[in-house]
């Protein structure tokens, strides 16, 4: 047991992430009978609505486990079009995600213009821009977006307390 614990302690977080994805896939596969409503118990296997999703989940689980096994060695990222986040500061990213979540919550209550203005101001503050740049950027961008999307393109954000 201790050797297993020691082995798990050496695991990088991405292997745990892959394991979690595979585990979720297995759970969803197993509980498909409850997650498909009403479940076609009497249907032939090849006519069942569960066939394709279950096959897909099987691919997720099996491929995920193979990937976890392969990742016992350091993976070299190949030449690809994928996003490179190696230089990203995760704390900054998390604070921006939180700000974005609050922005999503604020729009129905405060309105698009005020929420965007607040989000951009907070975003600039999180990115450590000086006050003048922050205000200039936040006001110009939020007013431009509001004019373009709300006034010109007529995107309706619902009734809010403010604008």
């Amino acid at each position: 047991m201790s050797s297993l614990q020691a082995r798990l302690a050496r695991w990088s977080w991405d292997r745990f992430f892959l394991l979690a994805l595979s585990f979720i896939a297995v759970c969803v596969w197993y509980f498909s009978t409850q997650l498909i409503q009403p479940y076609p118990h009497n249907a032939n296997w090849f006519e069942s609505a569960a066939l394709f999703p279950r096959l897909s989940l099987l691919i997720v689980a099996v491929a995920g486990l193979i990937e976890i096994y392969q990742r016992r060695h350091q993976m070299a990222s190949g030449e690809s079009e994928e996003l490179d986040s190696s230089a990203a500061n995760i704390q900054d990213a998390i604070s921006m995600v939180v700000a974005f979540a609050l922005y999503m919550l604020a729009v129905p209550f405060l309105g698009y213009l005020i929420s965007t203005l607040l989000f951009l101001s907070v975003g600039c503050w999180l990115l450590r821009f000086d006050f003048r740049t922050s205000m200039l950027l936040a006001i110009t961008l939020s007013v431009t977006m509001w004019v373009v999307f709300v006034k010109v393109l007529k995107v309706y954000f619902g009734h809010a307390w403010l604008i």
Binding site: A49, V60, L127, S142
Partner: protein, 524 residues
């Protein structure tokens, strides 16, 4: 769809004449489809935007196309496609500017241009390098559009003979090719592809009306929409990386020397071999699913080194390096559109998102598109041709001020993308549910990028999932659950063999090596 010499009994010349006439007809039809003001405007705006995002640090065509996708809802289908194609092609040109002037390729496919472009710029020949790159990209773009016009129709008439078994095998073959493009990350790519297939099944099953994996959430009854997933994975995830990464430092001394020279414009034609190598590899690799422009440019670059006419060593400012790389880079676009239009299989993430425009407007890409909506096919062909002329014109007029865009702080761009991602995903259905999906997939994309897990296969899986499931169920329903049709139909069998060979190729190679080693160590 009679373009494959059916009435000519194998006579090559009449067949070629038929093809030429069909091509000219298609082209004139395409030009007339584009002649309305909204579509022409969309094309010009897309081209201009593409050039700008190609130059802007950190913003690629993928992000822009993902964020723009929701805004194409209200446009005519051809307008939306032209807008996104403009961005797609424009970014190839724009990427060369930063590669040559500040040694910072905007895209992975522009790396090879940097190897010889930047040394040329350092030698005081920035204008020559830029002119070489733009003209080579222009030739690549025009050639790929012509290839699309010539190859798409015969290929569609061939694909028209596909039944459900062939459709299933074609998609599986594409999926395996996509996975293999990730080399050692093959299992991770297949995992994400499987996840994409699964996500495509969420919602009400169109065959049986059962609710699949909706967890009782009303919004999920209509499924997980592609638009917010694309906005999240490509737009929001990229924006989060941009705002949280340090601002890249670069030597900006060469930005002032941006410009063009007429001699440089004509120079690529002095290296026809390098040009042809780039065109061949770019177009051929563009057709393959998921094998993007990055591979074709690097292969073309290394191939051009063999038998190069210019004596300058490669990597120290050889013009043939720029010609081969840029020709290959821009000739990808037409190739990638061939599989989308003829088979409904996207060549890469960007064409997968462009396919979203078709889906949104209820247009099913594939062989039937050539008979049902020929104006779309002809319009795409004409768009690709015109876009290259528009982009070249815009580059000539604006290259000097354009180069200054490299100074823009990527953190500010990241904030702008977040705000645009919000309004883009919201406006797709005037629903906060779409924004929540975009945000969730944005975070998921960031986590995957951090863990070196590819996300492009997820989008490709989502796009292909519906067709794969429908074809599989159709086939199994007809054959009472028997898998025999996969091996009894010759095309399906050929694709199945190809899948097995691609999947087990490393094992065959290892076996071969083992056999060879045992033979050499044991000559008796």
């Amino acid at each position: 769809m009679g373009g494959v010499c059916e009435g000519t009994q194998g006579l090559f010349w009449p067949c070629l004449v038929d093809l030429k006439m069909e091509f000219i007809d298609a082209l004139s039809g395409g030009f007339s489809s584009l002649s309305t003001l909204p579509i022409a405007l969309a094309l010009i705006v897309g081209a201009a935007l593409g050039i700008v995002v190609g130059v802007l640090p950190g913003v690629g065509p993928g992000v822009t196309i993902a964020v723009l996708l929701p805004f194409t809802y209200g446009m005519p289908p051809l307008g939306g496609i032209s807008l996104l194609l403009g961005v797609y092609c424009g970014a190839f040109y724009g990427g060369a500017v930063t590669s040559i002037l500040i040694r910072t390729p905007g895209e992975a496919s522009s790396i090879m241009t940097m190897f010889d472009g930047y040394p040329l710029a350092r030698q005081g020949q920035a204008q020559r390098a830029l002119s070489l790159a733009f003209m080579s990209a222009f030739v690549g773009g025009i050639a790929s559009a012509l290839l699309l016009g010539l190859v798409a129709r015969p290929m569609a008439s061939f694909a028209g003979k596909f039944g459900a078994a062939e459709n299933v095998m074609a998609i599986l073959l594409a999926a395996v090719c996509i996975g293999k493009a990730y080399r050692r990350q093959f299992p991770a790519a297949m995992m994400m592809m499987g996840l994409g297939f699964f996500l495509a099944t969420v919602g009400i099953d169109p065959n049986s009306n059962e609710q699949r994996y909706t967890f009782g959430i009303p919004g999920m009854l209509s499924g997980i929409p592609l638009v917010p997933v694309a906005v999240g994975l490509f737009g929001i995830a990229q924006a989060l990386v941009m705002v949280s990464s340090p601002v890249p430092q670069f030597d900006s001394s060469l930005i002032q020397s941006a410009g063009l020279s007429w001699r440089g414009f004509l120079e690529p034609f002095r290296y026809p071999k390098a040009m042809l190598k780039g065109l061949f590899l770019g177009s051929a690799i563009g057709v393959l699913p998921a094998v993007g422009a990055a591979l074709s440019t690097s292969l073309a670059y290394f191939w051009a080194q063999k038998g190069a006419k210019d004596p300058t060593p490669f990597g120290q400012g050889n013009p043939e390096g720029i010609v081969a790389a840029e020709c290959a880079n821009n000739s990808n676009s037409g190739g990638a559109m061939i599989t989308v239009l003829t088979l409904g299989i996207p060549g890469d993430a960007i064409t997968a998102i462009i396919m979203g425009v078709f889906v949104v407007h209820g247009i099913v890409p594939g062989p039937s598109l050539f008979t049902d909506r020929p104006e779309i096919i002809n319009g795409v062909l004409a768009s690709l041709l015109i876009i290259n002329f528009v982009i070249l014109g815009l580059m000539i007029l604006t290259v000097k001020p354009l180069a200054r865009l490299a100074y823009v702080n990527p953190k500010i761009l990241g904030l702008v993308i977040l705000v645009l991602g919000f309004v883009g995903s919201y406006s797709a259905a005037n629903s906060m549910y779409y924004v929540i999906i975009a945000a969730v997939f944005g975070v998921f994309g960031l986590v995957c990028a951090r863990g070196n897990i590819p996300t492009i296969p997820l989008i490709l899986g989502m796009v292909m999932g519906d067709t794969l499931e429908a074809s599989l169920r159709q086939l199994l329903g007809r054959s009472d659950g028997s898998l025999e049709p996969f091996v009894t139909r010759p095309m399906s069998l050929a694709m199945l063999i190809a899948i097995v060979v691609i999947l087990f190729w490393p094992f065959f190679m290892a076996l071969g090596k083992r056999f060879q080693r045992s033979n050499t160590s044991n000559p008796s």
